[in-house]
Symmetry: C2
Subunit: 362 residues, 2 copies
């Protein structure tokens, strides 16, 4: 059983990665009292809820089943979780379990952070994207109509279980969305991993278990290392947002849930590399290699055709990295190294933002 | 200028106490960038908003004016604050300022904890209750229809300004509500202070500046000491909740805002002492002295007549101190010392809960 630890002092926690780790990792060691509240969604519940509750026969298990989709990642739906927590009299020693993708994980984590000012929670991510990114590192929260992930908390789980057996039922579009975040890790942090991805992208797309296991483990290692260095994003953690300022703008503009997060990140990453290229920091070669990788995963490599430069600028100016009104972006200095900067000419940014006319039809 | 520090390592912060400290303390030293968002309410805004904004002429100041009252301390109204933060493009370096009573402070602090996963905030409490209790120590949050303060965060401010000049316009009922929490500090932590309160209660009720200043300073000192020892309420911090389990039940039952928090705490404190007396831990004498103090401040000394034992038990069983289904209460062992316990016979608790028939008509 593969495992690693997110090192955060007395808030450190393990991540188990592999096929069947849900059964192998003795989940109950991480539950401190009788009460358990599982939060999942309408897609995952019929597939995997019973399998999980069977591991918890000795506990008083309650559940909330949310609708499935980014458009439901709102304060209103988190309030539904609070309703259920209070109706079932969950006390401060309850353990919340997020069983689902990134939306379920982000909402459950935020509810756990706020309920009675903080209860324990466990992440059981069921998508590739959630396993390699959102379930690790303690970023929790919800969207606001005016901006993605604008409301939330840094709040770490007690445990992350990344079981790749869940991918048997994962739709191909979701597989691709997860691969987008995996490719990001290569670009910002690990040139060798990027090369490995170029050699193994077909295996990942085909859900080859061994390749997936390696890619998820390596992604989690990078994320854990970055989060350990900078939990609350004062510095290097922002690298993990490569493509996200562009991507969040796309998601908000298109209506949450229409573009998957990973799809928006893919297009946004191409835009970040495009601007890095216009600035002369990277060559056309790396931009082309990245586009090829995304295309092989059937991911978009440009923003939606109808999205104007002004729409981008407007939405990007509420980004969490904005300081004193200046947009700051994560760009690439060279393969394996990112930088957060506001040092770019506006006309170059606008050239990048106008690349929507070449958008791949989704 | 009186001041003290809440010692919490790199999250330590000062409290300034006295007449005119708003002008004297150089507020702007605690604001780290250009953006400031003041949150206040419809009662305070016409009285004191301009006075505050005049101190901030060099800043980009925005404001949210909430309706006044505990019934508006909800997630929906916090969402209104988020709307305004996003519409005015507040970024991570913004400073939020809570100008108002406990409701404004709790909501602003919670909004600051969650907006972009955490921005700075300053407490400028305008009521006695907020100055001695809610503005200090980082408990932030909102009510839920099923329980008081059930949704929130531990999140510390950068600064607390307790200016007693605000009390010129403070209604007498609010003065009394604040005195209830002051008396609490004597009961749980400082027998000498309790005796001082017995000798000076008339001065406090009459808003004598010198007496108020002393009582607020001493209350803040006790609170700061307790919070420094136990920020997230694993132990001694729960003492500060003397009377609150009963009191929250009253507030929830009566509809938020009908009983002021301090009024419910007064009645709840009498109930906690009544039970402590039935258990033989304290004598009738201390119970009578406490009732006398509350009566001199025109505070209720019994719960609402119509509130049944079952209604109490039901509402108290969602309290944050409940563990494994058992109600735990803060009781008094002797003057100046509290204890958190579930060691009381249910029939004695029920006798205490049935004291509503002697309720003072409000």
């Amino acid at each position: 059983m593969n495992s690693l630890t997110v090192e955060l002092g007395d808030r450190s926690y393990p991540i188990f990665v592999g096929a069947g780790v849900l059964q192998q990792c003795d989940l109950t060691r991480y539950i401190k009292a009788k009460q358990v509240m599982i939060v999942t969604n309408e897609t995952i519940a019929p597939l995997y809820l019973e399998q999980l509750t069977k591991l918890l026969v000795d506990y008083d298990v309650q559940q909330v089943v949310l609708p499935d989709g980014e458009q439901f990642k709102t304060l209103d739906y988190v309030n539904n979780i609070f309703d259920q927590l209070l109706k079932t009299r969950q006390n401060r020693t309850t353990t919340m379990i997020a069983l689902g993708g990134g939306v379920v994980g982000d909402m459950t984590g935020f509810a756990a952070a706020c309920y009675q000012r903080g209860v324990n929670f466990i992440q059981i991510p069921t998508t590739i994207l959630a396993q390699v990114d959102s379930s690790v590192g303690g970023k929790t929260g919800v969207n606001h109509p005016l901006g993605k992930n604008m409301i939330g908390a840094f709040y770490q789980p007690q445990l992350v279980i990344a079981d790749i057996n869940y991918f048997v039922t994962l739709p191909q579009r979701q597989v691709a969305a997860g691969i987008a975040e995996i490719i990001k890790y290569g670009l910002i942090y690990d040139a060798d991993f990027f090369v490995w991805l170029e050699q193994n992208i077909h295996k990942l797309v085909a859900k080859d278990p061994e390749a997936l296991c390696y890619a998820i483990m390596r992604s989690c290692e990078i994320k854990a290392e970055v989060v350990s260095k900078d939990e609350t994003e004062q510095g290097i953690r922002a690298w993990l947002n490569l493509g996200h300022t562009f991507g969040h703008a796309i998601e908000t503009h298109q209506g949450y849930g229409n573009w998957l997060h990973g799809e928006a990140v893919a297009a946004g990453t191409v835009m970040a590399l495009d601007l890095s290229c216009r600035l002369g920091w990277i060559g056309q070669d790396l931009l082309d290699r990245t586009k090829t990788l995304f295309e092989l995963a059937e991911l978009p490599i440009a923003p939606p055709r109808e999205m104007s430069v002004d729409a981008f600028i407007d939405l990007m100016s509420v980004d969490k990295k904005v300081l004193d009104g200046k947009i700051r972006l994560v760009l690439i200095e060279k393969l394996g190294r990112a930088v957060v900067t506001d040092q770019f000419a506006l006309h170059l940014l606008k050239e990048t933002l106008s690349m929507g006319s070449s958008a791949v039809v989704k």
